[in-house]
Each structure stands twice: as C-alpha cells, then as structure tokens.
Amino acid sequence: MTVERLTQPVLITLALVALAVFALISGLDPVLLGASIIIAAQPLLLAAIGEMVVEKSGVLNLGVEGMMIIGAIAGFAFAVESGSPWVGFLGAALAGAALALVFGVLTQVLLSNQVATGLALTLFGLGLAALIGQPYSGLKPPAFGSLDIPGLSDLPVVGPLFLSHDAVVYFALGLVIAVWLFLGRSRPGMILRAVGENHAAAHALGYNVIAIRLAAIAFGGACAGLGGAYLSLVRVPQWNEGMTAGAGWIALAIVVFGAWKPWRVMLGAYLFGGVTILQLNLQAANLTPLWLLAFGLFLFAIWRTLTSRAGPIELLLLWLGTIALGTWSAAYPISIQAQYLSMTPYLVTIIVLVVMSADRLRANQNAPASLGQVFHKSG
C-alpha cells in the first residue's frame, strides 16, 4: 500500500518524461513544448481543482463544460467591454459561480437529480454562451501579458518553462496549494470532507450540509469559469462558439484520475494538457502506423502503471520498449490523417475512466462516500 502510494506519482512523472522524449524524436523543441503544455493545462487544472472540491463535498456536478463556456464568453465580454483582462477574469468567475448556483439550488434545495441537472447545465451553458457570444465573434480581447521577472525570465530552459508565465498560471498553482492546505489541514476543510463522506452524520452533528455544499458548488463554478476565460482570453485568444470542445468533460475525468487529491489532479491536468498539445504538434509532423503502435504501447504502459498490477521490472521494460518503438517509428515517416490525432485527448479520457472504474475496490478507495447522493433533512 505505501509502496503503491510512493511509486504512483513517480510513474506519472515518468509518463510526462516519455511525452518529452516523443517530442524530441518528432523534432520539436521540448522547452517550447513544455511551456505550451503548461498553457494548455491551465483551463483543465482550474476546472478540475474546482470540481474536486465540489465532489469532496459529496456533490457530482456534471455541468463543468457548461460553466466553462459561460466563463469563456463572460470573461471575453467583460474584458472587451472594460478593456481589462482582469475584469474579464473576475466576471468569468462570477458568471461561473452564478450558473453553478442554479445547479446548487436545483439539486440541494429542490432535490433534483444531480446527474440529469448537471447534463442540463452543460446544454444550457452552451446555448446561452452562443447567444451572448453573437456580437463578440471575430473581436480580439485585450492582451494579457506574462509576468516576466527581469533577468530570471531570460534564463535558458528554466526561464521560458517556469518564470515567464501570466498571473493565472501562478494563481492556479497557488490555488492547488490552497486547496491542499484547506482540505488537509483546516477545520472548515475537514467539515467539508465530513459532509462528503457521510452527510447524515454531519447533519446529526449540527453542520449545515446544504449551505456547505452550496458554497462548494459556487467555488467549483467560479474555478470552471476562470478556466473557460483562460481559453478565450489567453490560450486561443478569441471567442468561438463551442470553443471549450469537451474540456469540461476532460476536467471531470481528471478528478477521477487524480483520485480526489489536489497534487494528483494537477499532474493529471498536465498529462492531459500534454496529450492535447502533442497531438496538435504531431498533426504537422509525419506519422506512421508504427508510431501509432508506439503510442498504443505508451497507453498500455500508463494503464499497467495506474492499475499497479505489474511488477517494477515489467514496468521498466514497458517504458523502455515504448521509447525504443517511438524512436524507431520516427525513422520511417508516412503521414496519416489529422482527424485521428484530434481524437487522442478524448480517447485517453475514455480509456482512463474505463480503467479507473473497472477496478471497483480502487475506485471506491478515495471517492467521497456520499458522492452524488441526494441529502434530505428528515426527522
């Protein structure tokens, strides 16, 4: 058990290293790639850490996608109208929280079904964002500069990779630390976990289950809104209808993948961000069926690593084989259609969710025990 706990983050990091090796053999600059992975991971990280807090309080909000797209358009609109991206981010967080509270009131006060309400929230968010976004398509948002530190940001490798990002990247890192401290070390965080673990007992001890859950839901919505605004203000930066393109669903998968633990959720966000960027870059590069085979082996290696059924020697062989096959495939380039590559982030999401939920004992281990259950005060 303890060995498992220690090796898992190590092996996930190893997977990230393997990604970098792939980048190198495909003729990409790993530093630039790393920096763009960090950018690509931010929306996922923000949305996932928010959703993790919501799920820790025992609520399953499947409306992340809807809250993200509302955050994207609200952030864009506020930034364009005010001329300040900061106002944009603030507006996005408020809009995300407001939409989340619609979900909160429906599920916590009116006791509607969480899964159905969450799905409805996604559909509603997508539609509403498209409506609000009509006048904004084609506009350019005000620029959101990076916080360069004179001297340090120009350092080779370390500079572009860690020290020349925008404020939101550092904010997100701070948020992960804050959530980690809040849940693990503070009394309100302990109460929130207690509510997610056993809402009837928390109620019997006199805690206000509904108010705590509403607060968590609003926080999750604000985080998802920020993530969406990061897409429309920094990553793209432009407003397109449906521009989140499933990022909310990936964020939900990351929470499960990260086993409801802040640091693992962060690693997961970077891993998925990595897959997204890699497929974009590889669409330009020449690819072969051999490469796909290498990628298949890569996924298989991740699976063996996560399920911890394999011994260390098998894992080492798997990862070495993956890297070797990847190198070989780079030597014989034949191009394949880009559509197949666009699928990969979603494919990885599905594979991860299937693998994680296939092992029932493992899936139960860290999940909040009251997750998704309706709480009703009675007696």
Binding site: R193, A194, E197, A202, A204, L205, G206, L361
Partner: protein
C-alpha cells in the same frame, strides 16, 4: 400503571425536565404531550417499540428537532436548543444508534468534528488518550474509523461526548451491535459516569439490559408516555406488555429432525469489493433440509458478504457451493432461484424491494424465475397480481392492496411481505439476513413463526442475525461469524451466551472449544 419508585436518597431538583413535548409530522404524531424528569446521576431508560417516538424525543433534546409545543428545563433554566451545537454547549451529549462517524477519517478527526471548538491536534490526541484511559475506553486516535470494529466505533462516539464534559448523556440503542462482553464493559463505563453525577438517558428495547442497568424507566407507546416504573421491580414480561400494550404469544416449540443435505459450502473464500468490507475466509458448513442454521455475529464481520455469495450477487470459485449435489458456485441469482435457493437480504428498501414499485411488481422481481410469472418476455399481470394477493393474505400484510407502493408500507409489514414472497415460492433453502431488524414485536413474532413452519415443512433455512435472543429462539444449530470466518455449527443450547459472546469478539480459544463440541450433521 404509575409505580414511581425512584429512591436514591433525598429528592434533589431534576437536572432535565421535559414538560408536555408534542411533535407532529404529516400523518403521525411522533410525540404527544410527553413529560418526564431526569435526576443528576440517574440512569433513566426510555423504553418503547420502533415508532413509539423515542428517537424524535431525544432529537428534540439534542436540538435536531424543534417541538410544536411543550418546554424543557435544564438545571433549573429554560432550555430550547435551536441546533446540536447549542445543545452540546448546554451540556447534552449524544451517542447515536447509527453512528455519526466518518469512515474515511481518523479517530481524532471524527472526535474534532463532534466538538464545537476543538483544541489543536496534539492537545486533542492527549485528551483523547487521557479520557480513554480514565473510562477504560481504549482507542488509538490516529487509526481510520473505517478499520475499527463496531465496539471500537462506539467508544469513539462516547469519548467524543465525554470530552465536552456533558451533564446529560443520551445513548440511542447503544447495545444493538455489541457482543455481550462489550455490553458489560459499556455498563461499567456508564455506572462510573453516573457515579460522577452525569445523568444518562438510555434508549433501548432490550428489557433485560434495562432491568440490569437503569434506575428508572419511562415507557412510550404511540408517542405517549404510558407508564413509568422502576425496572428491577418489574419482569421482562411485564415491561414488554407495557411496551406493546398487549400480551405476547409464546414462541412455537420446535423439535425437528434434519433430513438430507440441502446446502453444502466447502472452503468458500471471497474477497470483498468494499474497501471497508470483510473478506470471507475458508467458510465451510452443511445445512440439512428441515434445519434452521443461525449465524450470529457483530455487524460488519462478513454477514453481508456471505449473503451476497449465497444469493449469487457475487460469484464464487467453482466447487465451493452445492445445492444438494449440484454445484451452483457460478450460477447467477435467477438460476439459483430456479433451483430453489432463495434469499431475503437485510436492506428492505433498495435491496430486497424497490420502494417506488408496487407490491405486485416487487412480487414479480424475485418470483418470476420460480413461479413462471411471465410468458415470452411479457408479464402475466393477472397471475402476478394473484401471487402478490396470496402473499398479502397468507402473511397478514396490512396494506390497501397489491397496487400499494413497497415504500409506503411500514417496516414490519414490508418485511412480512418480503418473507412471504420467498416462502410462498416453496424454497429448498432460504437465506435471510436480519429478518426482524426494525420490525415491531408482533410482526417479528409472526416472521419467526413463519420461518419455523418453513423448516417444519422440510426446507433448509439460514438466519443471519445480530439478535442473539432471536437466534436462540428459532435456530436448531448455531454458528458465529467473526472477521469473515464462520465457526463450526453446534446445537443451539449446547453453549452459553458468554461463550458465544467471546466468539463474536473473535476469541480463538473458545472457537477451538466449540469445535470440540461440534455435532456431525
């Protein structure tokens, strides 16, 4: 039936007095003008059947329920807690029947959650160790609650209350999940607290325990106080009659001779899917037809896992389960039903019955396989409805008719229906888990008689229960499940309650003694 005989020295002012508390829910008056007093250092029993209003009353005292009328006085001052925090601040502590603990969290975290302003971690774990040493409530503050036994969990709850120096301690059905030895340890702790002046309100329907422990008893029936007495001056019989308001029927005497082999289990091993579940280890036993096997044990020792393995919800390795001579180890639940192995699980709403479906539909759900209630995939609605009606008539289920929703029936009536549904299918082997849990005394008696009759007619019956008295009454042979292991079955009556208690706590030496006693079927 007033026989107020509280005689512990001169009269002192009551610590807590309840005056005319009334609380109505839609369709039911849970408390109707309830009044009684609690003296300092008194152990006061609140006695009544399920649904008599005990839980509502204590929730009112603990600030979870606000009464419609009436008042309370605590230490001479008006007491009206608006929430549990206020009640705790005023000196009320409560140990819940279904523990209010969080399995994935540590003992110290659980205790901190139950305190209004807990000290820091180090100070807290120090005072936990101090309190647990003082009252003989051993527990490690850093262990995860999910890994603790039921007895240990209760200690956590009690320590949580004691750390706040309560003046009144409310215990809601504290012994329903303990071994007899754990019960005695608990009583020692309670007597020590009472000697220190803490008033204890003890809720139970176990009459012998109340006679052994309590100074006074207030008896509730249908939300009203019907009597108040000194338990030692009463008999269990007279207390029971006050509680249910009628005389009890004597249990049926049974003298059955076992027939052929009905169910054979050979070294059954099952790993549990639940992180806090129990793995079944090397379980072997043989059940004869016309025999009732009682399986005793503290909750969470593998009863649910055993039930799932027998019903076919978890499939087991081949050649471990035999119905007669047939290997049913990998047969699915419906195949097992067709061959005559029927089960009635513990959880009535959600597992044994679908609450939002009618009785007819529920009858179909397990009855279809054996009673052929469908034809080419279509439900034979008339036949199914008649089947449900026959169950209702045959087992005295009080309901408007077979179209009533399962969830609308009271616990006792639904349980009679569920037992009837399986018994009416003439099983070769019937497995029931906690058949009378949360069922009123009359329905419980009916269910036990029905199980006896089924065995008289030649079926093999396994009764899994935490109620030792129940098992002593119905079972022919008897075994104990502890930590996922099942002891060799012995004849009921060949061992004492004390020995059974030790085995429930997993004492190996007693298990060996038991094996020496074991009867060959």
């Amino acid at each position: 039936m007033q026989c107020d005989g509280f005689a512990k020295g001169p009269r002192v002012t009551p610590l807590l007095s309840i005056n005319g508390i009334t609380k109505a829910y839609p369709g039911v008056v849970a408390n109707d003008d309830v009044s009684f007093t609690l003296m300092p250092g008194e152990i006061h029993a609140l006695l009544g059947e399920n649904g008599a209003g005990k839980s509502t009353l204590v929730k009112t005292i603990y600030g979870l329920v606000r009464p419609d009328a009436g008042s309370m006085m605590l230490g001479g001052k008006a007491f009206q807690p608006s929430n549990p925090q206020a009640a705790r601040a005023a000196g009320i502590g409560m140990v819940f029947q279904h523990f209010s603990l969080f399995e994935a969290m540590s003992v110290a975290e659980n205790i901190a959650l139950g305190m209004t302003s807990p000290p820091d971690r180090r100070e807290l774990s120090r005072s936990i160790s101090e309190t647990s040493a003082r009252y003989g409530l051993e527990v490690d503050p850093f262990r995860q609650v999910g890994d603790l036994s039921v007895g240990e969990r209760q200690r956590v709850e009690i320590i949580r209350c004691l750390l706040q120096q309560p003046r009144v301690l409310i215990m809601d059905e504290p012994t329903s999940v303990l071994t007899p030895q754990e019960v005695w340890t608990l009583f020692e702790t309670l007597r020590q607290l009472s000697a220190e002046g803490v008033a204890i309100l003890y809720i139970s329907h176990k009459l012998e325990e109340i006679r052994a422990l309590c100074d006074r008893a207030t008896i509730l029936r249908g939300g009203k106080v019907v009597a108040s007495c000194t338990p030692v001056e009463e008999t269990a019989q007279s207390l029971a009659e006050m509680m249910i308001g009628q005389s009890m029927a004597a249990p049926a005497v049974h003298n059955r001779t076992p027939g052929d082999l009905a169910l054979d289990v050979q070294s059954l091993n099952v790993k549990s899917d639940d992180p806090f579940g129990v793995d079944l280890k090397d379980i072997s036993f043989s059940l004869m037809s016309g025999q009732i096997l009682g399986v005793a044990g503290v909750a969470g020792n593998g009863q649910d896992e055993l039930m799932l393995a027998l019903s076919g919800e978890t499939l087991v390795t081949p050649e471990t389960l035999f119905l007669g001579r047939r290997d049913i180890s990998v047969a699915r639940p419906n195949e097992r039903r067709v061959s005559g192995l029927l089960c009635a699980p513990e959880e009535r709403l959600g597992h044994a019955a679908a609450p939002a479906m009618s009785l007819t539909d529920n009858a179909f759900l397990t009855g279809n396989a054996r009673e052929r209630l469908s034809w080419n995939g279509f439900i034979k609605s008339q036949v199914t409805s008649n089947f449900a009606r026959a169950i209702i008539a045959g087992f005295d289920v009080r309901t408007p008719g077979p179209t009533a929703l399962a969830g609308s029936l009271s616990g006792g009536n639904l349980q009679k229906f569920l037992m009837g549904r399986e018994i009416m299918q003439r099983p070769r082997v019937l497995v029931v888990n906690q058949p009378t849990w949360g069922v009123d005394a009359k329905a419980a008696g009916d269910i036990r008689r029905a199980l006896s009759t089924l065995a008289d007619e030649g079926a093999g019956v396994i009764v899994i229960s935490q109620d030792l008295d129940e098992l002593m009454e119905v079972a022919d042979v008897f075994s104990v499940i502890a930590g996922g292991r099942l002891s060799e079955p012995v004849k009921t009556g060949s061992i004492s309650i004390e020995e059974i208690g030790l085995m429930m706590g997993g004492d190996a030496s007693v298990t060996q003694q038991m094996e020496a006693l074991h009867v060959d079927p």
